[in-house]
């Protein structure tokens, strides 16, 4: 059994490291000197250059591996250290894993999101393990007076043919004094003994015994609790408040309003904030603060149009956030109007206009999807202890390096005076890539001159979110008289962004192709939500392809394979950003493993969908039955190509979870507004999939290859929607165009 510890206090940790006397502390410099916002862009663009690893070995042979990346359920606490341990050549069961502290210089990007953890740390962490092993061998060679080439290792031991042997810990202090070697040869996949062998979650025992791992669980002596009363609607702001009654409530320390950002504050792309005027209640305990908040008397007024300065992707720009109080039905109507207007051309191949003009048949379908809340089980929260000259903040955050520069500006403290501790996250799904709650906590602590934990109630979390955008897309296919697909057109729009990835399949597979996009502004805050844009695209496009296949008289898998064959052998256009062979590979694997077309499966309404996003490929066959008069997904067969799988059992868990999440959101997921007010407030009126609605069986199959690993948190998720829609058609005889599918028939499918 592995041990894990949380480095809640970086200073005490560093102190103990030094006290450990002679321990080997190995780190690599994250070479780039880029600013944090440049780093942010670099991570998103996959253009970063080098990463770091971190290993500590004590003389008593305790070997610790630090997980650099925030953990939100994707199991990096286990899988990232596995990659270090593989090259270090140690027994996995003897390793202690510890959550790393925040230091982008030593530990790399430390960013959880975009299905990037494994991919971006794949080489650096193995190199860290290999470098440490080489230094230990060199230390032994020096001590024993033999060439390094003669020193072998096995399971944390150093050996020489003359019979000498030593534990890693025996040589750790000498090894620490050596230069870090470069250009190390790493193991071939066939030689892996830890990678690709299932390992249990290193925090499993702590999780099942209720240990304090999460931000919500953070405790500090003298800590106060804070909550924020936000306006009742997007588009409103605080006018005035009277706290006389609330201040008399037991346990209440203070009630005040502060601004999150001063006028003209330059926001990064991840400084998104819902409301700027914060009405804050601070007290001794959560229940007391909750009760006092109810006694607040506040007046709200229309915020009007707000000008924001955003310096994110695409450079610095002024953005006008419209002040209108928005209603979902009106937003959909506006989107339908916008869809008729000319849009920005994103990609054009051949002559789509002529193809549609000459078509014997045109199929045109429009798909819509609402806002979605992240609904992390752990509501947003953050701890902060800010004083005149330093700040400690701790909590669940996907990218500590992104919040640091903003904290520095807001608190007027240099980054080196700000310590950020990463707690385990009770879900993330993109929500915790935005540090608003950390900034709020820090400003509240500064005002109170006390340690403060800010807590969002479930209602705050749901109605005060940074949501999945609303999307729409109209797909058109042109067929000639022989039912050949001669033209393809997608025009997508959204609030506030369009969903289109113009260079993805079926771009590259059709001679005449046109992709267009448009967008509408909103004051309802939106952001990254598990597989941004793809989570809608895959649903719409994969449903549409199912209809096109039907019109062409083709099997839906065969249509996709035929198109992919074309994309491989004679690709249309440039910049096609998927690999047709790997895409076809998951379709074929899903077809084979699901027994597609076999009579023994004829009792099921079957739907297929596949998608490429975040560098990995996924296909699902959904098997639906009618249960108690309603469609029910009973089984799912999943085929995934994410290259080398680091921790197979955990990877299967992640895919199964993505399938369940996909089914739930396809059927039920929706967040709607009336005059800026969220109509869903908690789990009694925001429906999440429950145990009895999940499939009885989800078989997960991975394409076996030796391709460098890519991510898995997002790629299996988007195609679930399409596969569910296609199975629903088989089950009900009706096509489903509007998410969530339960809405299409007055709440019943």
């Amino acid at each position: 059994m592995n041990n894990t510890t949380n480095t809640y206090n970086r200073r005490s940790f560093l102190k103990s490291s030094a006290l450990a006397g002679g321990g080997l502390m190995l780190s690599f410099n994250w070479i780039t000197k880029a600013s944090a916002s440049e780093k942010l862009e670099a991570v998103l663009a996959d253009q970063w250059s080098e990463l770091t690893g971190y290993i500590k070995i004590t003389p008593d042979n305790i070997i610790k591996i630090y997980n650099p990346n925030p953990e939100f359920g994707q199991n990096v606490m286990t899988s990232l250290p596995m990659m270090v341990a593989e090259e270090l050549d140690v027994d996995w069961k003897n390793i202690t894993v510890e959550m790393g502290y925040h230091d982008n210089v030593k530990l790399g990007p430390q960013f959880t999101g975009g299905s990037n953890s494994i991919r971006m740390y794949w080489k650096p962490l193995r190199e860290a393990g290999a470098a440490a092993r080489q230094m230990l061998r060199q230390a032994a060679a020096n001590a024993w007076g033999v060439p390094i080439e003669e020193i072998t290792t096995k399971s944390g031991m150093l050996h020489h043919s003359n019979g000498k042997s030593a534990k890693y810990g025996d040589m750790a202090s000498q090894a620490a004094a050596l230069p870090i070697p470069k250009d190390l040869k790493l193991k071939a996949p066939k030689d892996f003994t830890i990678i690709s062998k299932s390992k249990k979650n290193v925090e499993g025992k702590k999780l099942v015994s209720g240990q304090p791992l999460f931000g919500m669980d953070y405790y500090a002596e003298g800590m106060l609790i804070a909550m924020i009363q936000h306006p009742p609607a997007f588009g409103m702001k605080l006018s005035s408040f009277n706290a006389t009654q609330a201040l008399k409530m037991p346990g209440i320390k203070d009630i005040f309003s502060i601004k999150l950002y001063e006028d003209g504050f330059e926001q990064t792309g991840f400084d998104t904030r819902t409301f700027n005027d914060l009405l804050v209640v601070v007290g001794k305990s959560t229940w007391e603060v909750m009760n006092a908040r109810k006694k607040l008397s506040a007046k709200w007024e229309p915020a009007g149009d707000i000008k924001e300065t955003i310096n994110g992707r695409g450079g610095k720009k002024e953005v006008i956030v419209p002040g209108k109080l928005e209603t979902t039905s009106a937003q959909f109507e506006l989107m339908a109007e916008m869809a008729k207007k000319p849009a920005q051309e994103l990609r054009k191949d051949g002559d789509p206009e002529s193809a549609f003009k000459n078509a014997a048949t045109i199929i045109e379908r429009t798909y819509n999807a609402p806002f979605l809340a992240h609904n992390c089980m752990e509501p947003m929260n953050f701890f902060a202890n800010v004083s005149e000259d330093k700040a400690l903040v701790a909590g669940p955050v996907q990218a500590p390096g992104w919040i640091e520069p903003t904290l520095s500006k807001l608190l007027n403290l240099p980054p080196e005076k700000i310590e950020i501790q990463m707690t385990r996250m009770g879900g993330g799904f993109g929500r915790r890539a935005y540090g608003q709650f950390a900034f709020e906590a820090a400003l509240i602590s500064k005002k109170m001159k006390a340690p403060v934990k800010l807590i969002y109630s479930r209602e705050d979390d749901m109605t005060y979110g940074i949501y999945r955008p609303m999307y729409t897309a109209t797909y058109r296919a042109a067929l000639d008289a022989d039912k050949n697909l001669i033209g393809f057109h997608v025009k997508g729009g959204g609030i506030p962004e369009h969903p289109i990835h113009a260079n993805r399949f079926p771009a590259g597979a059709i001679d005449n192709y046109l992709a267009e996009g448009w967008q509408l502004p909103t004051n309802i805050t939106i952001g990254a939500w598990r597989a941004p844009r793809s989570n809608f695209n895959a649903a719409a496009e994969q449903s549409f392809l199912d209809e096109v296949a039907e019109a062409m008289g083709k099997d839906p898998i065969q249509l996709r394979l035929d198109l992919l064959k074309r994309a491989k052998e004679n690709p249309v256009g440039k910049n096609n950003d998927y690999n047709p062979e790997r895409y076809a590979g998951v379709l074929e694997l899903a077809r084979n493993k699901s027994g597609w077309g076999k009579t023994e499966n004829s009792g099921y309404s079957r739907g297929i969908a596949a998608y490429f996003c975040h560098n990995s490929y996924a296909a699902h066959v959904v098997d639906m039955v009618t249960r108690d008069g309603e469609p029910y997904v009973e089984r799912v067969t999943s085929a995934i190509d994410c290259g080398i799988v680091i921790n197979p059992d955990a990877a299967i868990n992640m895919v199964q979870g993505a399938v369940v999440d996909g089914i739930g959101n396809a059927f039920y997921g929706t967040l709607t507004h009336k005059e800026g007010v969220s109509e869903q407030t908690n789990f009694h009126n925001y429906r999440l999939i429950r145990h009895n609605e999940a499939p009885k069986k989800i078989d997960v199959h991975f394409v076996q290859n030796e391709i460098d690993p890519t991510g898995l948190g997002e790629p299996p998720f988007p195609p679930v929607f399409g596969a569910v829609a296609n199975a629903l058609y088989k089950n009900t005889g009706k096509r489903y165009y509007n998410q969530p599918f339960t809405n299409e028939n007055n709440g019943d499918i």
Binding site: V208, S285, W287, M377, H691, N692
Partner: protein, 151 residues
Amino acid sequence: MAKYNLKINGKTRAVDVDPSTPILWVLRDHLQLVGTKYGCGIAQCGSCTIHLNGTAMRSCMLPVSSIGKSEITTIEGLSEKVDHPVQKAWIEHDVAQCGYCQSGQIMTAAALLRDNPNPSEEDIEATMSGNICRCGTYLRIKEAIITASKM
């Protein structure tokens, strides 16, 4: 404010809190027993599940004034050595993803097995449907409960 002597995990704990305070917040804020989680506050998600005299209860809507002499068990008190069959099965099946809801899932499962040592799949689905897992670990939850029922 009022004083209460609560029986929690086999010990008597004294607290001085408002009588309306839900046990959830007494545990979390006043006793630093934070394994019991806040998820919704309206008994919809099950993250806050504890045992009251062995019965699974939602602690987020259970006022401290209603407890009396009842015995509270939290996830921290389910076993001394993390060896309750449900905990062992949870580790064996590596159920957790983010893990936040799992205390509540485990407490609900442990109460189920106490009342119904050999539950059918339907029994498990019916009982566990009160506990939301946003990561979607439902299959493993079911497998782990079946494994635990055989221990």
